[in-house]
Every structure is written in structure tokens, then in C-alpha cells.
């Protein structure tokens, strides 16, 4: 059987015929369609659903991102010892800074009555080996 080769064969046309005079009336028919067919109007309500979905999506994103951030943060409770150690190490926080954050009642609670007799003071100091340090500081 001889193999058919398209480029070796004379050009094959489609064989379609156009009815006589078809193009004569075409322009008029198209013009009539343009003049009489109403321009398609996009009704507002057809976009209603799209707007509702868009609004819902914005709402979910607006509330979802902060919520996700909040939930993803580990809930850490710092114990008082860690906090105290932190405050001790960070010397830039002065006693005055701490006192400023406290109300009068809290300050009164930590106030220590320092009315000591000279004799009691001497006894206390004599029990401390690094007396020089105490005196200097």
C-alpha cells in the first residue's frame, strides 16, 4: 500500500460552497442585529453573591489572622523566682523604678522598721565576717 504524504499531494481544499449572494445581505443582517439587540446589561443582583462571598472572605481574613497569631503564641507563666533573678541581673532597673510601679499599699507592706539600738546593731555586725564590706557599702 502506498503511503499517503500530504505535502506530496496537490493542495486539497475544504470543498465547502458558499450560497450565491450570501455576503450581499450579510452586512444588513448584522447591522439589524446590532441595532435591535439590546446591549447586555449586567444586573447588579447578579454580582450580589460575589460581593457577599468577597465580604465574607475579608471578614474571615481580618479576624482569622489575629486569632491565629494569638492562639499560636505559647502560654508562658513566669514564676516569681525567675522574675526576681531577671530583675537582679538587669541592674539598669533601679529600686526607684520598681517602687514607681507599686501603689502605696504595696510599698507599706515591704517597709521595714529599721529602729535598731546601737547595741543590737553592733551584735549583728560582729556576726558578719566581711565587716569591712558592710562598712564600705
Amino acid at each position: 500500500m502506498k503511503t499517503f504524504k500530504l505535502d506530496e499531494h496537490p493542495k486539497i481544499t475544504s470543498g465547502f460552497k458558499i450560497p450565491d449572494g450570501y455576503f450581499d445581505g450579510l452586512q444588513e443582517k448584522i447591522q439589524q442585529k446590532i441595532d435591535h439587540e439590546p446591549t447586555p446589561v449586567i444586573a447588579l443582583h447578579s454580582n450580589k453573591k460575589t460581593w457577599i462571598w468577597a465580604a465574607a472572605a475579608v471578614l474571615i481574613i481580618a479576624t482569622g489572622i489575629p486569632l491565629a497569631n494569638y492562639l499560636s503564641q505559647p502560654n508562658v507563666e513566669i514564676d516569681s523566682t525567675t522574675l526576681e533573678n531577671y530583675l537582679v541581673r538587669h541592674t539598669e532597673i533601679s529600686n526607684e523604678d520598681i517602687v514607681e510601679l507599686m501603689d502605696d499599699e504595696e510599698i507599706a507592706k515591704i517597709r521595714v522598721d529599721m529602729k535598731l539600738e546601737d547595741r543590737e546593731l553592733e551584735e549583728a555586725l560582729s556576726g558578719v565576717n566581711t565587716i569591712e564590706d558592710c562598712l564600705i557599702n
Binding site: 500500500m1 502506498k2 503511503t3 499517503f4 504524504k5 500530504l6 505535502d7 499531494h9 486539497i12 481544499t13 475544504s14 470543498g15 465547502f16 460552497k17 458558499i18 450560497p19 450570501y22 455576503f23 450579510l26 452586512q27 443582517k29 448584522i30 442585529k33 446590532i34 439587540e37 446591549t39 447586555p40
Partner: protein
Amino acid sequence: MEEQEFIAQLLDPKTQNAAFAKLLNDYQKPLYRHIRNIVIDHDDADDVLQNTFVKVFRHLQNFKGESKLFSWVYRIATNEAITFINRKNKQTKITSQDLQSRLVENLKADQYFDGNDIQIKLQKAIATLPQKQQLVFKMRYYEEIKYEDMSEILGTSTGALKASYHHAVKKIENYITGH
């Protein structure tokens, strides 16, 4: 006349009607041929052609001049023809290839077809191809549209179009050899 000048006339309400009449006159025959090759039946081609020109007129304001007017008009015609074929597929509940085969089978009885045996055989061979390959083959072989223009119309690279045409030719040659 330069294309830009013609497009300006199409967009200007004062010159629009005359310019559109010229566009109709220039494009009606090649566009009819293009659409007829896709939909096969004359009455269907007539419907699609009219709808194409109505669409072209209604969307003139949207034409940005980024592509050639020729490509833009052909793109609208191609989309209209493909949409028509797909709608027909849905209505008849058969595949695109089966529909094409059925349309080709009816050609012998069509008063607007006077093809001989090899022309019918070629139409039958084309009907066995996937839809995109059919389109590429028809545009290249029957209409002799350049690959560069086809690329603008179909939004496909010239390389892919050449490959598609090459595959189509091989399948057609095998079909005709075997029948």
C-alpha cells in the same frame, strides 16, 4: 490606511459606522471560511459569523491595540465557534470528535459541499484529531495562517503550534493511508 488610524475611526462615534462597514467588508469572507472550517455546517457558520461581528462591534471599546486587529477579530471568531461546538456537544451529549465525525458524514448530502473523495477523506481524518489539533491543522493547511499570527490568535507558542501541526499531519497521513 495605517491600522492605528483605522482603529481610531472604529472608536470614534462620528466615523464608527463607516469604519465598521469597511471592517465587515474586509473580514466577512476570510472569517466565514475560518468559522465554517470549525463548525462545518453552513447555517451554523452563518449564526456564528453574525454573532462574531456583533461581539466585535460591542467590544470595540475594549480593544486596547495590544494585539493586531486581525488577531483580535480572529480570536473572537474562534472563541465563538468553539463555544458553539461545545454547546452542541452538550446538547447532543456526544464527544467533540463524535460530533465532528457525524457532521462530516452528513457532508455528502450537504448542498453547500461539493468535495470529492479525497476531500471527504481528509475531513474524516481531521475529525479523528483532538479539538486543538483540528483547529491548528485547519488554520495552517486550509487557511494558510502564519504560525506567528496563529500564536497571537490562540495564545499558544509557535513551537507548540508547529509540534501540534506536525502530529496532526502524521495522524492524517496514517488515516488516509489506511482507508
